[in-house]
Amino acid sequence: MKEIFLGTVTVEGWEKVKIEGQKGIIGYSAEEVAFRVPGGLLRIRGNALNIDEISAEIAVVSGRIEGVDREKAKPPKSRAYR
C-alpha cells in the first residue's frame, strides 16, 4: 500500500513554515532544514533558518524562506544523518 503524506505544510509570508505530521528531522543548517514526512522528505530552503518549535506533532521553521521541496522516498541505503 502506498503511503501518502497526510500532514499539512503552511507557508506564512515566506518567513515561516509550519509542518504538521513530520516524522523526524534529518538535517539542519542555516540554509536548509529537512524533515522526514510520510512518503518522502520535505526540504525547506532559505537563509538564516531557525527552528522555532519542534515536537512530535509539529515543526515551525522561520527565516528567509526561498523554497519548500518534497522528495519521494527512496529505498534507504544508509543512515544519512544522525
Partner: protein, 301 residues
C-alpha cells in the same frame, strides 16, 4: 508550559538525533539554533526532567546553559530585591547614625554658666537627629540672651554639636589704655554682621563702608557717661565684591573659563569667607577679549 520558565541546553554534536529523540518522547523543543556542529534549544521547565532523562538515555551529551522566562526572572529578582532591601537598610542605618547627635560640646566658657548653655542648646534642638544643613541661627540668637555671652556659634561636627562662646569682657573698672586703636575696615562692602567685643560701634548691619572707614571706635562710655579710651575689638562681616580680569583664550568657551576661575577663586578664599554670588562679562580691549569676573563674598573686614 505550567512551570513558567524555560531551560536552555546546548548539545555538541548530532542535534537532529537528539531532537528526534526528544520529539519521540513527546517533548517540545523551542528556539533551536544551530551552533557549529551542535545546537542549542530550550525546553519548558515541566518537560526538562523528561528531556534530560531521554538525552542521558540516548547518550546525548548536553550542557544546561541557563533558565529564562518570567518565573526565572522572578527568582533572580527575588535575590536582587533582597540585596536592594539590605542595601537600603544599611544606608538608612548609616544615615540615622550619622544624623544622630552624640554629644554637645561647649568651648570658650570661663565665667558663663556652661550648664545654662547646654540647657539652652537642648531646648532649641530637641530632636536627637540633626540633618545636614540644619539652621542653628535661632539657637545662636537665644544663646546671646545668656548673661556674659557676647557671641555664640553653633555647628555640627561629625555627630557632635559644637557650641563656641565668646564671653563679654569682665565688668571691671577700665583704665585709660595707652593705645586707643580703632578698628578700621580692611575692605569696602556692605556690613552683614557686627559684634563688638570692645569699643563702640560706629556702623550697623546694612551700612555701606569703604576701605579704611572706622567700624568700631576706640572708646567706651561708662555708666557715669565718661568716655574711656580702649582698644577697639570686634567681629565685623560684610558683603564684599572682588573682581578679576583674565584674557580670553583663542580656543575654548568662556563658560568653561568662568567655571574654572570661579573654582580657583573659591579654593583660594580666606578662612571663614564664603562665595554667595558671581557674575561675569566679556569685554574687548585693543582687539583682545577679556573676561571680567565679579565675585560677591561674605568675609570679615
Amino acid at each position: 508550559m505550567k512551570g513558567g520558565f524555560r531551560i536552555r541546553y546546548f548539545i555538541e554534536r548530532h542535534p537532529c538525533f537528539a531532537l528526534n529523540k526528544l520529539c519521540g518522547a513527546g517533548v517540545t523543543a523551542k528556539a533551536v539554533r544551530r551552533e557549529g556542529e551542535g545546537a542549542s534549544f530550550s525546553l519548558g521547565s515541566d518537560e526538562a526532567d523528561r528531556g534530560e532523562r531521554v538525552m542521558l538515555g540516548s547518550g546525548v551529551k548536553f550542557v544546561r546553559l541557563y533558565e529564562s522566562g518570567f518565573f526565572a526572572h522572578l527568582k533572580a529578582l527575588k535575590g536582587k530585591a533582597a540585596l536592594l532591601v539590605s542595601l537600603a537598610a544599611a544606608i538608612a542605618g548609616t544615615a540615622l547614625y550619622s544624623f544622630s547627635v552624640d554629644s554637645v560640646r561647649v568651648t570658650g566658657v570661663n565665667r558663663v554658666d556652661e550648664n545654662a548653655v547646654l540647657e539652652m542648646v537642648r531646648e532649641e534642638l530637641p530632636s536627637p537627629f540633626i540633618l545636614p544643613g540644619e539652621d542653628f541661627s535661632a539657637a545662636e540668637r537665644k544663646l546671646l540672651n545668656i548673661d556674659g555671652v557676647a557671641y555664640a556659634s553653633v555647628g555640627k561636627s561629625g555627630r557632635d554639636i559644637i557650641v563656641k562662646i565668646v564671653e563679654e569682657l569682665p565688668e571691671v573698672p577700665l583704665l585709660n589704655t595707652q593705645n586707643p586703636i580703632p578698628l578700621p575696615a580692611k575692605e569696602g562692602g556692605v556690613i552683614t554682621k557686627i559684634v563688638v567685643l570692645n569699643g563702640t560701634k560706629r556702623v550697623e548691619a546694612g551700612d555701606t563702608v569703604t576701605k579704611g572707614e572706622i567700624l568700631i571706635e576706640p572708646f567706651i562710655v561708662s555708666d557715669s557717661g565718661e568716655r574711656i579710651a580702649t582698644r577697639a575689638m570686634g567681629i565685623v562681616e560684610a558683603k564684599v565684591r572682588r573682581t578679576e580680569r583674565v584674557e580670553c583664550p583663542a580656543e575654548g568657551s568662556a563658560a568653561e573659563l568662568v567655571l574654572e576661575r570661579k573654582e580657583a577663586f573659591e579654593a583660594a578664599l580666606e578662612e571663614g569667607a564664603r562665595l554667595i554670588d558671581y557674575s561675569f562679562e566679556v569685554k574687548k580691549v585693543d582687539k583682545k577679549a577679556y573676561l571680567d569676573l565679579y565675585y560677591d563674598i561674605i568675609t570679615r573686614i
